[in-house]
């Protein structure tokens, strides 16, 4: 087990800066998800931790140890590839034994270690199966077992669930999380799927365009996005953001949303912070934290998605489009106006110029 420290890490491929700057502390035994859209630099970061690519500048430390120049075979890193990269021409046993065998371990020792790991991962009955005809959850276990047998300090997982069909992903997520609890290793998990990050990770590092946007627990990232990108990226659908101008009223500070009217007054702590902002702000609230009310934002319904457990109502259009998610079906139909009000505690305000969250207090 080992902590990982990334210090001022950058990576360029020619003129293209894949990773502009990255400072991240991953604690010993932590499950950290690197989350972002494709091309955000998350895989590059992971490859540098594994030693498949050398950083352009900056440092990678495992605990106290500087990893510069340490080849990937010697980093003590377990890597689970997107498609698992199981050696298909070998049996499960040969796959599991591969690492110790390459390091010249004695036959008896290999056998006992393979036996132990197979027992732990419930692979014992499958040991002599050829690895090319295994189901995907077995492949995942073999991939993890093959790395785990080397007792790596760190486990890196590169979108291991992206090739799995949706119905099976939930099973795999649970299994993966249980395995992590079992091994208690530091795990870095790269994904573009926020659901995976939210359900499995201790903390999430949200990335975009080679820049780390926010690091925090799943709920922190969800409740208090650090900027507009995180606000829009996390959550399905993402946070509603409406452009407006802070204005004083007799009830307190409100945001003037132009044609949509004015918002209810902001909570006191938030209001004082918003007063410091010069220029426009973005008024944000989660689609899930909206109620139908007498007073609020009056907008035409443009589309209603009824997906059983939830109903997603699309309101307005263009820059002032808003989505609202309701637990139950609602009596709204396209073309009619609806009046929605965000719950006061859920309101977040962002500086329109910088995109950064305006923090209360």
């Amino acid at each position: 087990m080992s902590a990982i420290h990334l210090k001022n890490l950058t990576k360029s491929f020619g003129d293209f800066a894949a990773l502009k700057t990255m400072d991240l502390e991953i604690a010993d035994g932590e499950f950290m998800a690197l989350l972002g859209p494709s091309g955000c630099g998350k895989s590059t970061t992971m490859n540098m931790i594994a030693g498949m690519e050398e950083p352009t500048s900056g440092k990678i430390l495992f605990g106290e140890r500087d990893m510069a120049g340490v080849p990937m075979g010697r980093r003590g890193v377990g890597f689970v590839f997107q498609n698992y990269a199981i050696f298909t021409h070998m049996t499960v046993r040969q796959n599991l034994a591969y690492g110790p065998r390459m390091r010249g371990a004695a036959k008896a020792e290999i056998d006992s270690r393979v036996g132990a790991i197979a027992e732990m991962l419930q692979l014992s009955p499958l040991l002599d199966r050829k690895a090319d005809r295994l189901s995907v959850n077995i492949l995942q276990r073999v991939a993890i077992g093959r790395s785990a047998i080397m007792e790596p300090a760190i486990f890196l997982l590169d979108e291991p669930l992206s090739n799995v069909d949706a119905a099976f992903r939930a099973v795999m997520r649970t299994e993966l999380k249980q395995l992590q609890r079992q091994f208690r290793q530091t795990m870095v998990y790269v994904t573009h799927d926020q659901l995976e990050a939210m359900t499995m990770a201790d903390r999430i590092a949200v990335m975009d365009h080679g820049v780390l946007q926010q690091v925090g627990t799943p709920l922190e990232v969800y409740n208090n996005p650090a900027n507009v990108f995180v606000a829009r990226f996390i959550g399905a659908p993402g946070m509603n953001l409406l452009k407006g101008r802070p204005a004083e009223s007799d009830r307190g500070l409100v945001v003037d949303l132009g044609p949509l009217g004015v918002t209810p007054p902001l909570p006191d702590e938030l209001a004082s912070a918003v007063r410091a902002v010069r220029g426009d702000v973005l008024y944000g609230f989660r689609p899930e934290q909206v109620v139908l009310a007498e007073r609020g934002l009056s907008m035409p319904v443009s589309f209603v998605e009824r997906i059983g457990a939830r109903t997603i109502v699309h309101l307005g259009e263009g820059a002032s489009a808003v989505k609202a998610v309701f637990e139950n079906d609602v009596e709204l139909s396209v073309g009619h106006a609806a009046v929605v009000a965000p719950l006061a505690f859920s309101v977040r305000v962002f500086d329109a110029a910088t995109g950064l969250a305006v923090k209360a207090g």
Partner: protein
Amino acid sequence: MSAVTATMSEGDMDARTKPATPDEGARLGFRLTLPAQILVLFISAFPLLMQLYISVTDWSPLSGVGWWNAWEMWNSFANYTDLAADTRFWSALQRTAIVMLVCVPAEFLLGLALATLFADDFPGKRIFYSILLMPMMVVPAVAGYMFFMLFQSGGPVNDILARIIGTPLTIAWLSDPTLALIAVMIADIWQWTPLMFLILLAGLVGVPEDQMKAATLLGANAWQRFTTIVLPKMKTIIIIALAIRVIENFKIFDTLYIMTGGGPGVATETISVYIYKVTTQDLIWGYVAAIALAILIVLSIVAVYAMKRMAKSREVPA
């Protein structure tokens, strides 16, 4: 009630669209492929049968009767008993085997080394790649003349060797029995290593990169990766490449014939050269047919073995 009617009418539909018995389907298939089957029969089975027929006679184009009347010259199995006692045939066969056992492994190892080199990028790769493939495109007869001239006692090979050593050299490459065989093998290796290289490179590029990375992460060094991942994954393609070259090399003729004519004496007389001589000089075609049939059997055994191995390794796809 209605459900039952539905099932019945469905059954009727089946009867009308599909052939009633599998037997009938097979018969239809046979009729449809009959023209192709006749063609295949004509171009492969017919010559084979004709060869078999002639091989038990003393027939030759000079015997004055058409080949279909060769039965008049029936000699029981004299050709085959002659063949068993023909020392020139057996030494030609032995020579062919030696050439094959030197050339094919040499071509394989050189081809594999080059393929490994070309699997990575290096400056000027495309140019070297084209140059490397050129020998394969040269007409074998032209390659034969090239090497014939290169290996003259006053030719470039001796000249270059002399410059390296510092003393004049007049090695009689093509008139020394051992050196002539070596020269012929060098020409074959020069010409056919590119083919081996090309096939093996295709196999090498097909080795999944992430499995290589996974092996590296698990601590395998370059040699271990090669033996535990690359070679097993390339097994099928290696068998194909070797089978192609074994069969082709067994029939080695044009380059060799132009360089040495099978000489000096019979020093480079391989099986094809021997057959050629018996056919054109001795004109005993009944005997030629017997030799050719014997060789066909040997090569078929090689081909069947290779195909069996391939089928076996295909059970474990890459």
